[in-house]
């Protein structure tokens, strides 16, 4: 099962559904032991989120309209972060995930500097969870220490858990069984996750939608996250 079982994980984000509520960011931080950054530190560019929601104003008063774009790690097929790591702490695994081994990381930050999507965040400090918040830390992940890079993993611990459950029940993994925290929490259901190798999975069908595009695709990064957006206006 673990040997090239043939999964190719991917995500689809429907921007026509996204309301910009930021619930994905909250769910992600809670699931993945992501520390809360102070305003002061955020101002220095040290904000720590594994998914963020970019907001773009399309028009101003009296009819303000905005577009929101949730940006997790793209798990690029050709990830610019990988070749620059001098210690192989970040690499591509068999299931098309851009993996990050925290305990291997020595903190050069080359990977973050080479990421066109700016989705990698760095632990500048040893972060503390004051009681009782420490009680809600997720035991399925380590708490990363100072000097370590971290980023979205597509909730690898949930992928692992679902695979274990399926193998215990002696069956194949079902579509929709792996649900990352952001996907689970999204109120309008704008986020979809699944196996791109399964042509019938919900995410594969979404990815074939004509509204599709990918962020900065021209860079050749081959992102695993596909966005859907209806283009308004008088055509091009």
């Amino acid at each position: 099962m673990s040997h090239g079982g043939g999964h190719k994980w991917g995500m689809a984000i429907d921007l026509d559904r996204c309301t910009g509520c930021n619930a994905c960011m909250v769910a992600c931080s809670a699931e993945n032991n992501v520390p809360i950054t102070s305003e002061d530190q955020a101002g220095k560019g040290r904000l720590m989120h594994w998914i963020r929601v970019n907001r773009y104003w399309q028009s101003g008063w009296p009819r303000p309209e905005s577009v929101h774009i949730p940006v997790p790690c793209m798990h690029c097929g050709k990830a610019p972060c990988e070749p620059v790591c001098p210690v192989y702490a970040t690499y591509h695994n068999e299931e098309n995930l851009n993996a990050m081994v925290y305990n291997r990381c020595v903190g050069t930050r080359y990977c973050a500097n080479n990421c066109p999507y700016s989705v990698r965040v760095f632990n500048w400090f040893d972060n503390k969870w004051e009681g009782p918040l420490d009680e809600q830390l997720n035991p399925d992940l380590s708490v990363r220490s100072r000097g370590v890079m971290e980023k979205c993993t597509f909730c690898i611990q949930r992928i692992r858990r679902a695979k274990e459950q399926a193998s215990t029940e002696n069956r194949a993994l079902r579509d929709g069984e792996v649900v990352p925290a952001c996907v689970q929490t999204c109120p309008p259901g704008a986020l979809l996750f699944g196996d791109l190798n399964d042509p019938d999975s919900e995410v594969s069908r979404a990815v074939r939608n004509l509204r599709r595009f990918r962020l900065m695709e021209h860079l050749g990064t081959e992102p695993s996250v596909t966005y859907l957006k209806r283009v308004k206006g008088g055509g091009t």
Binding site: S2, N93, A99, V101, Y102, N103, I156, E164
Partner: protein, 163 residues
């Protein structure tokens, strides 16, 4: 003036040689002197009878006080150590056992996967069946995990074990 420091250095040197790195300390000092030897070697109780989650979940689990009392309401009820267990049961309190076999926080180890694949408990926890005080004699190094995984064709992807 420097004598206490010297003493401390000598002691720590002794400790370092007595317990090489990676080897768990023998001085676990459990709140109740629990002997695997009495229970396993002496009375033939199966590991899984007490560590019931080993075949079902990532952690093997430590038996509850209620489980101890299912025997000890009757068996050796007068033993002073068993009385400590009985008191905990009466006060509805868990015994705060100290960990013995432990991996660092960044490693994921699913017992059920390996136990159900037929790796015997004592292969990884050698001598526990004969231990008066529980010790972890085998060091859980990454190389050791990898060697068996390679040999048996199990995944050696970093994200299989690291979290």
């Amino acid at each position: 003036m420097n004598r206490p420091i010297l003493l401390a250095v000598l002691l720590s040197l002794f400790a370092a040689t007595a317990f090489p790195p990676g080897e768990a300390s023998a001085l676990s000092g459990q709140p109740v002197p629990f002997s695997h030897k009495t229970h396993v070697a002496g009375n033939g109780i199966d590991c899984r009878f007490c560590h019931i989650y080993a075949t079902r979940s990532a952690s093997a689990g430590i038996p509850s006080v209620a489980k101890c009392m299912s025997c000890h309401r009757v068996v050796a009820a007068g033993n002073p150590s068993v009385k400590l267990v009985a008191r905990a049961a009466d006060e509805k309190r868990a015994i705060a056992w100290n960990r013995v076999a432990k991996l660092p926080d960044h490693v994921y180890f699913p017992h059920h996967k390996m136990v159900n694949a037929g790796v015997p408990c004592l292969f990884c926890h050698p001598g526990v069946d004969q231990a008066v005080e529980t010790v972890q004699k085998r060091a859980f190094t990454m190389g050791w995990c990898m060697a068996c995984h390679r040999q048996r064709g199990v995944s050696i992807d970093c994200w299989t074990c690291h979290k």
